[in-house]
């Protein structure tokens, strides 16, 4: 008996060591851990990212002796330094404006500027459909909304994709709502017309924050809305064509079709999705996905929605699992008693 336990502990120790090496350890080496910033949107990681790039360029510059390569790196360095200064200034502005208090009734007049593009059933602009703003006051963090009106490319951390010649599709907002007061007022108005946090369902949170670019076919969600059952095949084809057109538009804008998120809860997991939504560049540097700016509560709802799409049997799995394990305990006891009885005569 004692010998068997020694053998068992050797077998278990080697198995666990192997498991630890190929699972937790290997994954920690392959995928660097990214911490959440609490969905506060203060630009810390945005600035760090460019500073890191500057350090890399400098190191590369020191290593190389080729004058041509040096010149390229110097130009890179200059561009990155300009970029980091712009980011610092931008986030400082956001911080300053955030301290102001908004007036919802004054914001209503400013809001009229927005409704020329943002309305229900809006037409696509530059590949993307401007969202209806009904839920935006509850969906997005205030800091993010301030930044979005101040400079959409900057707050989404995709300024590398745009320039004066190729502006962000929402770039005009900078000129339409330009004073600090207007910004906080219109946000106060958006917050006033939005449903309460507890009224916002995971479904709506996902559809408004993510669903204009991402399909979720396991929930019948398409980027032009829910795909219902059609009685007439022609209606279905018409819907599919409309969807294809929208996909083509978004592909043109993003460079590739944003992935269907049906199985993301299993392929990426909760932590990855959560930190990715907060700042896509942290996990996939150079991605064209903008930061969407959801607050912590909305992020949880988005994840709940994705869990419903990709892992709806989780509760059943946990429940059945407990029953099976309880049964196994009984099985072990019965098997042990049988063994003892049979071997009584053999010893």
């Amino acid at each position: 008996m004692k010998k068997e336990l020694v053998i068992l502990s050797v077998v278990v120790a080697f198995s666990l060591l192997t498991y630890w090496l190929v699972e937790p350890f290997a994954h920690s080496q392959m995928h660097p851990h990214v911490e959440s910033q609490g969905f506060e949107y203060k630009g810390t990681t945005d600035i760090e990212e460019v500073e890191h790039k500057i350090a890399q360029i400098k190191a590369e510059h020191d290593r190389t002796s080729d004058p041509k390569a040096k010149a390229v790196l110097e130009a890179d360095l200059k561009a990155s330094e300009t970029r980091v200064e712009a980011k610092k200034a931008f986030w400082k502005d956001v911080e300053r404006i955030a301290a102001l208090k908004g007036d919802a009734s004054a914001g209503e007049a400013v809001y009229a500027n927005c409704t020329s593009c943002h309305m229900e059933g809006a037409a696509p602009m530059g590949g993307v459909t401007p969202p209806d703003l009904k839920s935006s006051g509850v969906l997005y963090e205030r800091n993010y909304l301030i930044g979005l009106i101040k400079d959409p490319a900057m707050v989404s951390n995709i300024d590398h994709k745009f320039s004066a010649e190729r502006p962000h599709p929402m770039d005009s907002v900078k000129y339409m709502v330009s004073s600090d007061e207007d910004i906080v007022n219109v946000i106060a108005y958006l917050q006033k017309i939005a449903p309460k946090q507890e009224e916002l369902t995971p479904e709506v949170a996902f559809q408004d924050a993510c669903g204009r670019c991402h399909n979720v076919r396991y929930n019948n969600w398409t980027l032009i809305g829910e795909k219902k059952k059609f009685k007439d095949k022609r209606d279905e084809l018409a819907f599919d064509i409309k969807k294809l057109d929208a996909e083509e538009g978004i592909t043109g804008y993003m460079g590739k079709l944003p992935p269907d998120l049906s199985m993301y809860i299993r392929s990426r997991g909760e932590h990855y999705i959560s930190t990715f939504v907060e700042d896509p560049q942290q996990l996939l540097l150079g991605t064209s996905m903008p930061r969407v700016g959801v607050n912590a509560e909305s992020a949880e709802k988005v994840i709940a929605y994705l869990e419903e799409a990709g892992d709806p049997k989780k509760a059943e799995r946990n429940r059945v699992g407990m029953y099976v394990l309880l049964y196994m305990i009984l099985f072990i006891i019965a098997a042990f008693l049988w063994k003892k009885q049979v071997w009584k005569e053999l010893h």
């Binding site: 010998k3 068997e4 053998i7 068992l8 077998v11 080697f14 198995s15 060591l17 192997t18 498991y19 090496l21 190929v22 699972e23 350890f25 290997a26 080496q29 392959m30 076919r217 396991y218 992935p259 049906s262 199985m263 299993r266 392929s267 990426r268 997991g269 990709g310 709806p312 049997k313 059943e316 799995r317 946990n318 059945v320 699992g321 099976v324 394990l325 196994m328 305990i329 099985f331 072990i332 019965a334 098997a335 042990f336 049988w338 063994k339 009885q341 049979v342 071997w343 005569e345 053999l346 010893h347």
Partner: protein, 404 residues
């Protein structure tokens, strides 16, 4: 024709036609097993039951799986995992059992190596067991293609590419294997056939041979002692059960097997319900995309050690090393020149050889998963070289072993 009499009972009726009493004796109650064994001797039964779990869960999955590149992914992840009642359970059981079966196979193999259970008449047990290992590997690989996820696709790409034989560039063979230039419909269909028909048939046949190979040399024991099964079984049947060195397969050995099995199943179902990530790689929950290579391509954990033997060398050398690693374990009974059948801890230098081999396989496994860069690359290369050094040294260190 044999003479038949009017049967006195159903049992008698069957006895006259099928000799069921005799069969029961030969297969169970008078199939003699040494008494001096530990729980590691139950791994055969654990493997048989795990195979049964794979077979049964596989039958259920087969009722809904669609071997089509357009629908395979959704038939697994939506139809089976979400629409079919308890489809998720069969899939989790199938995926986890496919991974755990290799853990048990490795324990079973290393037990055989440790106790010298491949020598002196037991060579065919070892060789048929190795054939099972190879067939199980092919079964696991072909099954891995079926969900048609990113890892299915890219593992299929990488493994079939190996058949171009490096610098020989036999691309025709690769295309012939795939039925296309890249993995596609033809590829999925043939791996589906292999997975659900040809390979399971081969496995079932080989299991029969593996069991049959045990009959004449008998099961080994903890001390490698040569037992006179004839005399010891007579002793048992005469009533001296405690003094006999052998026990019945059923119920004596079976009752111990069942206890070990029950503990194993507890562990297995814990993994199935609560800790399945190691057996269901997250990357494979992305649908196959021929235009998007995953950032890290690695096989399932049980192939990592041989993958790492392939990786640290140049292309051709790596392929040769990989090829040797696949077959070298077959030669174990012939490369071990020692006259002793005994546990490794009594065999002097072989004891050291055994434990270095265990550690080396674990190091290779770990390095096979880690990105091949920096220190991991160096460790992997050293571990691969140690692997070959161990095999080269085996005949010499065992030849010089003293007879016990």
């Amino acid at each position: 024709m044999a003479h038949f009499e009017k049967a006195t009972s159903v049992k008698d009726w069957l006895n006259q036609r099928l000799a069921i009493e005799k069969v029961e004796k030969v297969m169970a109650s008078e199939y003699w097993i040494p008494k001096n064994i530990n729980f590691l001797w139950a791994m055969g039964m654990v493997l048989a039951i795990t195979f049964a779990l794979l077979l049964v869960s596989g039958i259920f999955l087969l009722m809904y799986y669609q071997p089509n590149v357009e629908t395979a992914f959704d038939s697994v992840n939506y139809t089976i995992m979400q629409e079919v009642g308890f489809g998720w359970l069969w899939r989790h059981v199938h995926a986890v059992a496919a991974s755990v079966v290799f853990l048990i196979i490795y324990i079973h193999m290393l037990t055989g190596i440790y106790y010298g259970s491949y020598k002196k008449g037991r060579e065919m047990i070892w060789i048929s067991g190795m054939l099972l290992f190879v067939t199980f590997s092919a079964e696991a690989f072909s099954g891995y293609m079926l969900p048609w996820g990113q890892m299915s696709y890219w593992a299929g790409m990488v493994i079939t590419n190996l058949f171009s034989a490096g610098s020989l560039e036999l691309n025709g063979i690769v295309e012939w294997l795939r039925g296309d230039y890249v993995p596609g419909q033809a590829f999925l269909n043939r791996f589906f056939m292999l997975h659900v028909l040809l390979l399971p048939l081969a496995i079932i046949g080989l299991i029969g041979i593996h069991f049959a190979a045990l009959r004449i040399p008998h099961v080994n024991n903890q001390d490698g002692e040569e037992i006179d099964f004839e005399a010891e079984s007579k002793k048992y049947l005469a009533g001296d059960k405690a003094g006999s060195k052998v026990i019945r397969f059923a119920n004596d050995f079976m009752s111990k097997d069942m206890f070990v099995l029950s503990v194993f199943l507890m562990f297995f179902f814990y993994l199935t319900f609560f800790q399945y990530g190691f057996a269901m790689d997250p990357v494979n929950f992305d649908p196959a995309d021929g235009l998007k290579t995953p950032a890290h391509i690695y096989p399932e954990w049980y192939f990592l050690w041989s993958y790492e033997i392939l990786r640290p060398f140049s292309k051709d050398l790596g392929l040769i090393a990989f090829g040797i690693a696949q077959v070298i374990f077959f030669l174990l009974p012939f490369m071990d020149r020692s006259p002793n059948v005994a546990p490794a801890n009594r065999r002097g230098p072989f004891k050291i050889w055994f434990w270095i081999m265990v550690v080396d396989l674990i190091v290779l496994t770990a390095m096979g998963k880690l990105p091949p860069a920096g220190i991991f690359n160096t460790i992997g290369l050293i571990a691969a070289l140690v692997f070959f050094a161990l095999w080269i040294s085996l005949p010499f260190i065992t030849k010089s072993e003293k007879k016990l």
